[in-house]
Amino acid sequence: MVRKLEPYIIASWHGHRNDTDIPAAVKAVWDEKFKAQRGRTPGRQSNVDIAILDSRGSLVHSFDAANHQQYGRRGRIESYTADELSRAASTLGLAKRPTKTPALKLPDLQGKQGVRVLVSLDDERMHAYRAPVVEVVPVEDGDWDHLAWPEEARRVSSSVLLPYLSQIYPPGVMERTNPTTKEVYRIKAVEGELELSPVAAKKGPRHAILRGEVRIVDEGPDDFGYKGTLEIVLAYRDGESTPHALRGYFDGLYPRSDRMHRDTRWLPLQAAIESIPE
């Protein structure tokens, strides 16, 4: 699939049909998708469409991303998308165009200091949700003052890590949205005390460990939250009190509400946390 997408510049757009600034390509796709089909029962449709545009921005091909006839069967969406891409490729003349495999380029801050959070949800029923989420958060001067080198172990509130830990929630969390605004509930707080302790080392870089149990809470009205273990190694340069780098992980369980089976499934929710640039 990645090979078939290599010739393309990839972009995403989101919005509603009553928005005033719908791009021409999106309007063309939606006009076709939602037009009344006399004498036909409308088929099931997803809320995601793919539009293939040529280099001048003209719509060449479009299709519903989910292909509901095959929905839920493992690998079917991939093969369906590959078939649709093959159709577009012949129109665009891509079959003759050689491509080289591009390097993996994770989101970053163009050299600016930050924290990258790579989130994984192990949902055995919905494989699409197992794709990792990657978020980057800038670090400003003073943000890590609370993590200054500990001469001896001390307590630190996990709330100082809110900008990073607030990225730890599953992809496509449809059950945690505001019913009025349709916006996803953002993470509003991180609760729990952490211990920051120095690591004894005879030589080499200085390290400290930040660890504890945290509870991540969203802004919904029902005090919804989920817990996990947080462990982070902090690195300090000689003569500096604030850390210059960190690596660690969050390992918790997320209570996913399953409306179809009317139960709650506790799914492993994990995140690798690392400072950038590496």
Binding site: V2, L5, E6, P7, Y8, I9, I10, A11, S12, W13, H14, G15, H16, A25, V26, V29, W30, N47, I50, A51, L53, D54, S55, R56, G57, A65, A88, T101, P102, A103, L104, L106, P107, S120, A131, P132, V133, E135, P171, G172, T181, K182, V184, V199, A200, A201, P205, H207, I209, R211, E231, I232, V233, R237, R247, Y249, D251, Q270, A272, E274
Partner: protein
């Protein structure tokens, strides 16, 4: 065999970490190993081999300049950051 593998892994980890300022001593080794086991591998991060534009406008400008087509993902929703995966 198992011991050899463990030795080679330790050697690899030591070499890899030596240049980054990370040392795997008592206390840090377990955390850094857990970090590596949780971090998705390159296969799972394949979507970041794709050439993402920051917006549709950006994609169209680049498409014209580079003579390339655009693969546009349209999400009928108020939110949808497909690039990060939080959509």
């Amino acid at each position: 065999m198992k011991r050899t593998s463990r030795y080679l892994f330790s050697l690899w980890a030591t070499v890899l970490l030596a240049g980054t300022g990370w040392s795997e001593g008592t206390g840090t080794r377990g955390i850094l190993e857990r970090y590596r086991s949780i971090r998705p591998d390159a296969k799972d991060l394949a979507m970041y081999r794709l050439d993402w534009a920051t917006s549709l406008d950006d994609a169209l400008k680049r498409a014209a300049k580079e003579s390339r087509p655009v693969y546009l993902i349209i999400i009928h929703a108020k939110y949808g950051d497909i690039t990060s995966g939080h959509c």
